[in-house]
Symmetry: C2
């Protein structure tokens, strides 16, 4: 089976399209990117695209959905370990920073391009995002209930603050400075000291 050297394997088109789309959407945004742009970057044709996807929307939805699955899986695994509150929150913060660095483009696309998704298909993704947020809130409420953290006016607002602090890294993170782990540990120490019981 002598396949010409650079020729793509038959059947690999789908993932190539998704990866190309991630690049394009990250660099130029969803609406600004034409289907033609994506298929050219993926080195396939428009026919191949519409064979694998119904419409352009599906592509964005698929990227969002898979991304949320990755995040949720990591988060559920962490919760399953049943760590004491301080370690749990510290690891959670560290994990999110690492995830932000790893999935930087997907984060950017998720937060910048979600207004381009129709309301209905976005529901499914939003449910997963809500679940994600709930896990962070629970980690904090758990710590407060166990006396590991001081009481705060609102565990939800604190949780959003932590998520923001950490997720914001998608805006500025570059591999040249501190490593994701170092950044995560730094943020965790600030937060843990900040909410330590009096």
């Amino acid at each position: 089976m002598e396949r010409a050297n650079g020729a793509p394997e038959r059947g690999s088109a789908r993932e190539a399209i998704v990866q190309a789309a991630i690049d394009c959407f990250y660099e130029r945004g969803y609406e600004t990117t034409s289907v033609q742009d994506v298929v050219e970057r993926a080195k396939v044709t428009k026919g191949a695209f519409y064979h694998h996807f119904e419409k352009k929307d599906d592509l964005l939805l698929h990227i969002h959905d898979r991304f949320m699955d990755e995040l949720l899986t990591a988060m559920e695994e962490l919760r399953a370990r049943q760590l004491p509150p301080r370690e749990a929150l510290a690891l959670l913060i560290e994990d999110i920073v690492v995830a932000t660095a790893t999935y930087q483009r997907e984060y950017a696309i998720f937060f910048e391009q979600r207004r381009n998704l129709a309301a209905e298909p976005f529901q499914k993704v939003r449910a997963k995002r809500d679940q994600y947020e709930r896990l962070v809130v629970q980690a904090i409420e758990d710590g407060i209930a166990k006396g590991a953290f001081r009481a705060v006016p609102s565990a939800h607002v604190l949780a959003f603050g932590i998520i923001g602090m950490v997720a914001w890294a998608y805006h500025w993170y570059r591999p040249s400075g501190l490593s994701p782990q170092e950044i995560g540990r730094m943020y965790a120490s600030v937060v843990l000291d900040g909410i330590a019981p009096a």
Copy 2:
């Protein structure tokens, strides 16, 4: 000078267009919004639009630019007061949360639609954003230098963390819960405790 009741005043079109654009861009994004959408919402015509603006880009640029000016002004005023580090940082955090609540749509547009601006016109806006970030970094470095805050691996990374924590509110803030001031004070107390000297 009896002007007919509902008739818009001559010359008021420009601001009406800008406000309509902020609404549209916030709700549906820049590319998804057509110039036709904007002028219909502003109750003017396409001719009026292209009289006041050269192209669609100008609109987005104008929104970004004016927004950054508002933020920078507030920040410069705060710095001019020369407060001691702890008060300065606390007020800074509180101010940004209040600004986030006040300019929620502009924040969203700034962070979600900036990939739709060509690189060159965006330079001017980016310079202002950089200046803004620099002021936050300085507030932290100043506090560390004066011994009011403990040393951290990177003042820049900490500054970005604080900005993220606070600016993230544009995603979730709703007037029904805690007030912006309360949120700001809560975040400030966590951060100040978190970076207090050992």
